[in-house]
Amino acid sequence: MLSYVWRNLLTRKIRTALSVLGVSASVAGIVALISIAYGMRSSIDAYMEGGGASLIVYSGHVADLIFSSVKQEELDAIAAWDDVEDVSRSHFFMVKPPAPLDGGESDLAMLFCFGRYRGERMLEQFATRLTEGGLFRNKNEIIASVSIADALGWKLNDEVEVFPGQAFKVVGLYESPSNWEQLGVMMDADVLGEKLGRRDNYNIAFIYCKTADGARSADEISAATAAAIQEKYPHLKAIKPGEFTSSFKEQLAIMDEFIAMITVIALVVGVLGVLNTMMMSVHERTREIGMLRALGWSRGWVIKLILLEGVVLCAIGGAFGLLFGYLGSELLIAAYPQAHLVAVYLPSTFVKGGIVAFAVGLLAALYPAYAASNLRPVVALRYE
């Protein structure tokens, strides 16, 4: 049966190839989209988790972290709790990148600015990520990521204008696994706060809790601290850093909806393409199908034959689609380095792509199979 199906597909090479291509394009699009969307999420999570904090605290009611505001007095109170070892305050801002020092043009879309304080763990730990120089010591020094320094032609000890008319000395260069930090510079939080017009409040605070004591595990301690923060300050949200993307649903749900929509479109396009191919193939083989019925094939077997043809077609298309999806994402990432996209390839993404291919095959073959099985054998055999 399979070799029969296979041979049929091989006989109509160009048509089969076109359908396979259509299906693979659908599947590839879906795989690339999901992988890059996951990449975005994972780079957010990587940023949040990178500092090794037990909890992150931000305003629970805002739609974007930019508008989050955690007050100094709240953080002072929390820092005094027994279970809390350190509170690291953080500002976060995006600016247009300054012109490169060497006079050329950069293809950098934006520059991330992070405000940190010396003496707080979030920054002090960051010293291990430095590849050159040291952490900033005062308000007119910054550290920059190696890739930013490369893009803008900065070297250690250069004076650079991060904001127009405001020069900073680059005292350290770093590499970070977080895409955001990779696109940014770090400076004194007061300097950035002033730029943002913020006084005594922060976008986000990283809370470092005590590690396990005799009675409780580290997880239990941080969970209790999170609960205590949310009870005492209901407008704040305190969660584990790795839970950020899943708890910040409002914004990311749009992305999911977008993916779902594209998936449906891809599915419809794939189905229509394969449907056309299968209808043509059934039509051309009218006599053959009549003959099969005469040989004792039931309607069910004719349906099986055509469905199998559709599924095999789409399985091949799906396999190529998964491959193209991977290659396509990598190509996209390479083609737009300034967007600093990352793709995360989850096994579940490839499973989803496979399911889409399978669904396309089945859906597209359903009607042709029905039509083929409905041919009356006598009429089909008379067909020229």
């Binding site: 049966m1 070799s3 029969y4 041979r7 049929n8 091989l10 006989t11 006599r287 053959e288 003959m291 099969l292 019925r293 005469a294 040989l295 004792g296 094939w297 039931s298 309607r299 077997w301 009356r376 054998p377 006598v378 055999l381």
Partner: protein, 222 residues
């Protein structure tokens, strides 16, 4: 005595809302193992008769019974086709993309035989029709006579009690036609199948147990 293999009682078959009468009141019995020849002018209803016998079509009125199974609906037709009937057409109707052996195996697919056994039967059938060495050649490479031999092997693979042949030699020269006809007889004798042969060539009717002549959808004596 066991009941006849084929029983037609008052069978009419009309087309186009009764305006075309292809068969008009046919009564006939065919016993197991019989050789029945059917002749008649073009348009007299020969193919229509054969299609009814082959459970490919339903009578407009009257009853058709094959191997004690009355044909009334799709299901009964499918079962009868699968278990009782072998068809040889004027056109060989082989699947062009498959090899000779694969074509012969087609009727066996819905019968769920292990692949090895299926293959063995195909080869033995090909042996019988003298095409053992062409088993794995694509049928497009075979001559008309060879293709018809493959078609015969395909019709006989499940040793059907009733072999139906609609002008099996119609597309062949007379020498090849005679050889093909001899092959059909040899094969059906081996399995004890009855043969209903539709033909324009009266020479092929030699040795038949019964000769049915159709004129305008009716049987006439001959």
């Amino acid at each position: 005595m066991s009941s006849p293999l084929v029983v037609f009682e008052g069978v009419r078959r009309t087309f186009e809302q009764g305006r075309v009468v292809a068969l008009d009141g046919i009564d006939l019995h065919i016993e197991a193992g019989e050789f029945v020849a059917v002749t008649g002018p073009s348009g007299s209803g020969k193919s229509t008769l054969l299609n009814l016998m082959g459970a490919m079509d339903l009578a407009s009125s009257g009853t058709v019974t094959i191997a004690e199974q009355r044909l009334t609906d799709r299901r009964s037709m499918e079962t009868v086709r699968r278990d009782q009937i072998g068809f040889v057409f004027q056109m060989h109707n082989l699947v062009p993309v498959l090899t000779a052996a694969e074509n012969i195996a087609l009727p066996m697919l819905p019968r769920r035989l292990p692949a090895a056994e299926r293959r063995a039967r195909c080869l033995s059938l090909l042996e019988q029709v003298g095409l053992r060495e062409r088993a794995d050649s694509n049928v497009r490479g075979l001559s008309g006579g060879e293709r018809q031999r493959v078609a015969i092997a395909r019709a006989m693979i499940h040793e059907p009690p009733l072999l139906l042949a609609d002008e099996p030699t119609g597309n062949l020269d007379s020498k090849t036609g005679t050889a093909v006809m001899e092959l059909i007889h040899a094969m059906r004798r081996r399995s004890g199948s009855a043969l209903v042969l539709v033909t324009h060539n009266e020479e092929l009717c030699a040795g038949c147990d019964r000769w049915l002549h159709l004129v305008d959808g009716r049987l006439s004596n001959r």
